[in-house]
């Protein structure tokens, strides 16, 4: 972790990172684009997931849904990643030590594993159930995981803005460890 610590510290000290952090309009504009891209990215994923759950668009074949809707999801994803990297670049050290950000990254990882699992195993016999109103259990499980995980990514992302668990505040040993605080302030060691 030490080398990552050095990297984010260096990143936060670069002139453009400071400029972005302190900018009056650039940071809020990038953050707004990031949030609005959620509607494109998670919104379109959610519609595909609802189809996989047999809860909506039941007359649309799953293959039609994925071929016509997922390109928009990918477009939304690119916007999310680019704006997300810029937001991290603007505030790297605090974000790196945010318990919300770290949990968000874990959920992102789970989301990718789920996508891989869906394509590797669930879709193998898709021609058999492509037009069925209610897809098989495997794809429904994958859809529930996808919906849950992406919605949690949104919640964790929003909570990064709150400073409850920041390293510059007294924290429990667990939070300080999870956040990787370089100079932790332990709540139970503060003398009243």
């Amino acid at each position: 972790m030490d080398s990552v610590e050095k990297f984010v510290t260096w990143l936060g000290d670069t002139a453009s990172s400071v400029a972005l952090h302190e900018s009056l309009y650039m940071y809020p504009i990038i953050e707004s684009i990031h949030v609005i891209a959620i509607t494109l990215f998670v919104g379109t994923i959610a519609m595909v997931d609802l189809r996989l759950l047999g809860l909506s668009f039941r007359d649309v074949p799953v293959s039609t849904m994925t071929s016509r809707v997922l390109p928009w999801t990918v477009a939304g994803f690119v916007v999310m990643i680019v704006t997300g990297l810029l937001l991290f670049y603007a505030i790297p050290v605090r974000t790196f030590h945010s318990v919300w950000f770290r949990t968000k990254m874990i959920f992102l990882l789970v989301a990718f594993i789920n996508i891989w699992f869906f394509h590797r195993y669930v879709r193998r016999d898709q021609p058999k159930w492509d037009t069925r109103a209610m897809p098989p259990l495997g794809s429904r499980i994958s859809a529930v995981v996808s919906l849950t995980v992406w919605l949690m990514v949104i919640v964790m992302g929003r909570f990064i803005a709150y400073n409850w668990f920041d390293c510059d505040r007294p924290q429990t040993h667990f939070v300080a460890w999870y956040a990787g605080c370089p100079a932790p302030i332990y709540a139970d060691e503060i003398i009243q």
């Binding site: 509607t39 919104g43 409850w164």
Partner: protein, 156 residues
């Protein structure tokens, strides 16, 4: 009694006070507001993309509207309820914010347009490509204004 007095009275209600005093309540409601936004975005885009000829083009606009309807209504109700709760907790602050009034104006226009014009238009399975594109662009533009002004309340 001015409108400002009304906003002050709303903020002073026990509900407003409870929301302000809790550490977790406001962020939790905010999170639900965002989740509903994602679902609403999907339900909105699926029909607007179809109207633009960029989505489920082999299906009629009426069938897409019907599939999206419960999710659109469910999410918009959630957005309004959570939005009102967020607003009650800081009504006076909102009163002074230009972005808040832009959002409320755009929201009123967006709701009226979506449920009285756009969805009824889609149900009739229109064939006029130009009209379909115009309705979709108007829908996307007005909702984009709502979302952008909403985010801006936090900065202004």
């Amino acid at each position: 009694m001015t409108l400002y007095d009304v906003f002050q009275a709303i903020e002073k209600t026990p509900l407003g006070a409870a929301l302000r005093e809790s550490l977790w309540l406001f962020p939790a409601i905010e999170a639900v507001h965002l989740l509903a936004l994602a679902i609403f975005g999907g339900a909105l885009l699926i029909l607007d993309l179809r109207l633009l000829g960029l989505g489920l083009n082999t299906f009629t606009t009426s069938s897409i509207e019907r599939s999206a309807r419960p999710w659109q209504i469910g999410s918009v109700v959630t957005l309004v309820v959570t939005g009102v709760l967020l607003g009650v907790s800081e009504a006076v602050k909102l009163y002074d914010k230009y972005a808040f009034w832009v959002k409320m104006t755009a929201l009123l226009a967006a709701l009226l347009f979506t449920f009285l014009v756009r969805n009824r238009f889609a149900v009739r399975d229109p064939k006029d490509g130009l009209a379909m594109k115009a309705v979709a662009i108007a829908s996307l533009a007005v909702w984009f204004t709502v979302a952008a002004a909403g985010r801006w309340i936090g900065y202004s």
